[in-house]
């Protein structure tokens, strides 16, 4: 197992050499105010056989989890995904069902405190095909899944069981690492079949009150390694670069911290704190909620991206199956419609887009939508001070009846970002030790695209809508299922027999044939 611990301090944060002390056997951190990343790389042999078998059937697996609470993205850890659990899975065999993987996922991330099991266990087809760029048709079909997951507690206890193994000093450390994930803002799991390693990483935007304190031990096994870094980041010389400087050490090998300074091109960049957005749904939401993305005009300036790139503002929505967009309505090229919503267009979508099916008839977990947002003209930017709002009309599915007449629909905040792409399609971004890919939206852009994330402006990044459903009244009141069934059948039967009775009266008085033909002649005569 290899471990890398990186602390990122703000430029204004103070540092006293006493706060990081190196000894031959360990490294001790005291009251350090910083963001932190902890990254563990496992060889497959380190893992339980169950997990190993599962990974052997996969080409790659990428799990991205983000907390529902807002946090600051800190360069070079600038990327964002919508809150919840995102899973990207490419099976080795394209025809292979996702069932096994899915049930493992259900077991691994398990029930949260609200006793809501991951839906995954219920359906074989809950994964959807991940969206891909129309230009690269050769891309292997990867399957994608998302669910709301406020807590990682079940996942943490599963890590302890499947990875930390029997009680040793080693496992004590492993258990401590696992437990620490309960306060993480971001957790990633990456398995790549070509490298045969599993990488687990956590990111904390802020430390505990009073700063971080920990003792990092030298690994007991020769093959293991623990790297430590205490760094600060600032923009590099090139517009696409991030420059980091600070202290590095390999725990148990280096006698003291070694100063370092290096820069690298970064895929993700942080915008100034003022560049923010807020998500809301205009009330009343009804069965057709409209999502509003509100951005202060002052933060709509093009980011300082490399000159050879063109930038456009985007949002990437992750919607549960209970709420969806109409691909035909949203995919229109009608400029009047798009202007009225301040949208530039729907760029990609995938997943459940059936326009009529009730939620219980939908198998997939939901859908993803990439929109390009319209931005105000330069004149408009200068003259107006109000916020800029883009709106996305959505629709609710029919949900199961409930005892209150309502059911909650939880919509994670989408991410909003500038994407600056270079025309040189093939050129890729250089090596970055802190790079993060497989976020769902990044693969929808050319390889050389830089992302500038806007900051979500809220404490809690999940919107809750009340979807009206049939009210079963908690077993109280007159309009129970039983009475609705009975009432409907009685009313319809009465109607049926009433019409039949009217018909019988007609048949009784004048038979089934035509009426009096003498009259017909009379009409004839009159006319003639």
């Amino acid at each position: 197992m290899k471990r890398r611990i990186t602390y990122i301090q703000r430029s204004d944060a103070g540092f006293d050499p006493e706060q990081a002390v190196v000894t031959p056997k360990s490294l001790t951190i005291r009251n350090l105010v910083a963001a932190r990343e902890d990254r563990l790389t496992f060889e497959l042999n380190d893992l339980s056989s169950e997990l190993r078998d599962l990974l052997h059937k996969s080409k790659d697996v990428h799990v991205r989890w983000a907390t529902e609470e807002s946090f600051d993205a800190v360069p070079p850890f600038a990327s964002r995904v919508s809150p919840g659990l995102h899973v990207l899975h490419t099976p080795l065999d394209a025809d292979q069902s996702s069932e096994t993987f899915c049930s493992w996922l259900g077991a691994a991330f398990g029930r949260n405190e609200n006793e809501e099991a991951l839906d995954c266990s219920q359906h074989e087809n809950t994964f959807i095909e991940s969206p891909h760029r129309t230009t690269d048709s050769h891309a292997a079909t990867s399957l994608q899944y998302h669910t709301q997951l406020p807590s990682l507690k079940p996942f943490i206890s599963n890590i302890k069981r499947a990875i930390c193994g029997p009680h040793t000093t080693e496992s004590a450390q492993c258990i401590a690492v696992a437990d620490s994930l309960s306060t993480a803002d971001v957790v990633d799991v990456d398995y790549d079949g070509t490298s045969n390693t599993l990488v687990l990483s956590g990111f904390w935007a802020n430390g505990p009150t009073g700063g971080w304190s920990e003792e990092i031990h030298k690994p007991t096994q020769k093959s293991d390694k623990v790297e430590f870094g205490l760094l600060g980041a600032e923009p590099g010389i090139g517009a696409d670069e991030v420059k980091v400087g600070g202290l590095l050490a390999v725990v148990g090998e280096d006698k003291k911290l070694k100063p370092t300074m290096f820069s690298f091109p970064s895929r993700h960049h942080v915008l100034p704190q003022s560049a923010s957005y807020a998500i809301s749904f205009s009330e009343p939401t009804g069965l057709h909620p409209t999502m509003s993305i509100t951005i202060p005009r002052s933060s709509l300036n093009r980011p300082s991206a490399p000159d050879d790139t063109t930038c456009s503002l985007h949002t990437y929505l992750t919607l549960p199956s209970s709420i969806f967009g109409d691909q035909y309505q949203l995919g229109t090229s009608d400029s009047l419609f798009l202007q009225s919503h301040n949208l530039a267009g729907l760029r990609a979508h995938s997943g459940e887009t059936d326009l009529e099916a009730p939620d219980w008839a939908v198998k997939g977990w939901g859908s993803n939508w990439l929109f390009e947002l319209a931005t105000p003209t330069d004149d408009d930017l200068a003259s107006q001070s109000s916020n800029w709002t883009s709106t996305i009309p959505l629709h609710l599915r029919y949900l199961h009846p409930s005892d209150t007449g309502y059911r909650p629909v939880h919509v994670p905040w989408p991410v909003v970002f500038w994407a600056c792409s270079s025309e040189y399609e093939e050129e890729s971004i250089g090596i970055n030790p802190f790079d993060r890919t497989h976020l769902g939206y990044d693969s929808l852009f050319s390889p050389r695209t830089f992302f500038y994330q806007l900051h979500p402006q809220s404490e809690h990044l999940v919107e809750k809508l009340d979807a009206p459903v049939l009210n079963l009244g908690d077993g109280q009141g007159f309009f129970q299922t039983h009475n609705i069934e009975l009432g409907t059948s009685i009313v319809i039967s009465l109607g049926f027999f009433w019409v039949l009775w009217q018909l019988a009266r007609v048949a009784w008085s004048s038979g089934l044939g035509a009426n009096n033909t003498a009259q017909q002649v009379e009409v004839h005569d009159k006319k003639d």
């Binding site: 009343p284 419609f337 009225s340 326009l355 099916a357 009846p401 049939l470 319809i492 004048s510 009259q519």
Partner: protein
């Protein structure tokens, strides 16, 4: 001299009305984010675009129609300059609007020739109910295909009353291929078209065998064979072209549909509960019984020979009222038949009754729509009791009106007089 004295004037106004709406519609589409054009029309034209690329029209989600419709609208997929493209885009709407006017013309022809209406009276009724009805003109110019049903039903009645059995069968087969429900008219027409109708002397005291033999008349045989042949040939062609998706979307969808969103049907609430798996009795599996017993047995049997058009109206009314799904487009289905029924109806003869019926129907709609608004736009849980009771009340109003139509149909003198030109 009134405008109703002259048929050209009435039709000129009807055509102008549609033309104005077409032009206004394309103006609104080009200048407002809220479109005049119906969503369904976008479905048709998207499907036509798929067809023009050699693909199946069912590549478009929610295309639930015969491929004929997409074929008819192929010109809407033509690529051309901006000016031309707004004209080619409107091609389908123009077609639907023309179909409307043609339907009106057929009804006027029938009223004057077969029902002996003075031309002025016929024009007055048809203008009021159909030709000048802004709702009808609006629906066809927005691009809803329901207008085509109007011309098919009017054509069917025209071919029948003018004794063109093969043509009637052809139209019937086409109409059923188009929208299924017109099959109900087949029963009425077959029962109506007895030997006397073809000029045979009324027979008395026949034994069972003779009765059966007498039932099989050349007209009935021609009509049946031509309807079946048309229906089968059309389906065969479509099936060989588009295979199972054609069957699934055009026909089977109506059996397997799962989208029981709120609608006017009295079954709506029950079906929501059923679909969500909450019920125990499964009364809804018998829903076809009252509907079909009335529509294809009782109503034609009692009414068809007395007054074919009224019988067809009663069938349509009963079919819509007892259907498991009912949306406002279904109300158009009986509009085309009203000019035959209304003039001799109790609803016109007794204005109080007529106004009460109209008021109750409108109140039934309004109550439901209010609850629908609460649900759809305010997000209130108005399924029960709101929508449930509103749909049952609306059902009751419809049943009461159906009773009046049945009584009127029973009292009809045989007003369909054979066309002298035959």
């Amino acid at each position: 001299m009134g405008i109703f004295d002259s048929a050209p004037r009435v039709f000129f106004v009807a055509t102008t009305l549609r033309l104005v709406l077409l032009v206004y519609g394309s103006w609104q589409d080009a200048n407002s984010a809220v479109k005049y054009t119906d969503i369904d029309y976008m479905v048709f034209t998207d499907a036509a675009r798929y067809v023009s690329k050699g693909q199946t029209p069912y590549a478009r989600d929610t295309y639930r129609y015969t491929p004929l419709l997409a074929w008819m609208l192929l010109p809407t997929a033509w690529e051309s300059s901006v000016l031309w493209s707004s004209l080619t885009f409107a091609f389908g709407k123009i077609l639907f609007a023309l179909a409307d006017v043609l339907a009106g013309w057929l009804v006027v022809q029938l009223l004057t020739r077969c029902y002996r209406f003075p031309s002025e009276r016929a024009l007055r009724y048809v203008a009021a109910v159909w030709l000048w009805n802004p709702m009808v003109a609006n629906i066809s110019t927005r691009g809803s295909s329901e207008g085509l049903l109007g011309v098919l039903v009017a054509g069917l009645l025209w071919a029948t009353l003018t004794k063109r059995a093969t043509l009637a069968g052809l139209i019937l087969g086409l109409a059923v291929h188009f929208k299924i429900y017109p099959f109900i008219y087949g029963v009425s027409i077959l029962w109506w078209w007895d030997a006397e109708r073809d000029g045979a002397a009324p027979a008395t005291n026949l034994d069972v065998v003779s009765r059966v033999l007498r039932f099989i008349t050349p007209s009935r045989v021609k009509l049946t064979l031509s309807a079946l042949a048309t229906f089968i040939i059309l389906n065969f062609i479509m099936y060989t072209q588009y295979g199972v998706p054609f069957l699934q979307h055009t026909f089977l969808h109506h059996v397997t549909r799962i989208d029981h969103r709120h609608n006017f049907s009295p079954y709506a609430t029950l079906l929501y509960l059923v679909a969500a798996g909450n019920t125990e009795f499964h009364f809804e599996t018998l829903a076809f019984l009252p509907q079909l017993l009335l529509v294809v047995v009782a109503l034609p049997l009692v009414l068809a020979k007395k007054n074919l058009a009224t019988s067809m109206l009663a069938q349509t009314f009963a079919f819509v009222t007892f259907n498991k799904v009912c949306t406002s487009q279904y109300f158009l289905w009986y509009l085309i038949l009203l000019p035959f029924y209304l003039p001799s109806s109790e609803l016109i003869r007794k204005p109080t009754l007529g106004l009460t019926a109209a008021a109750l129907w409108v109140i039934g709609q309004a109550l439901w729509l209010q609850q629908g608004y609460y649900l759809e736009f305010l997000g209130l849980s108005s399924f029960v009791p709101g929508l449930f009771l509103a749909s049952l009340f609306f059902f009751a109003v419809n049943i009461w009106i159906l009773g009046i139509i049945v009584r009127d149909g029973g009292e009809s003198l045989n007003t369909e007089i054979q066309d002298k030109t035959e």
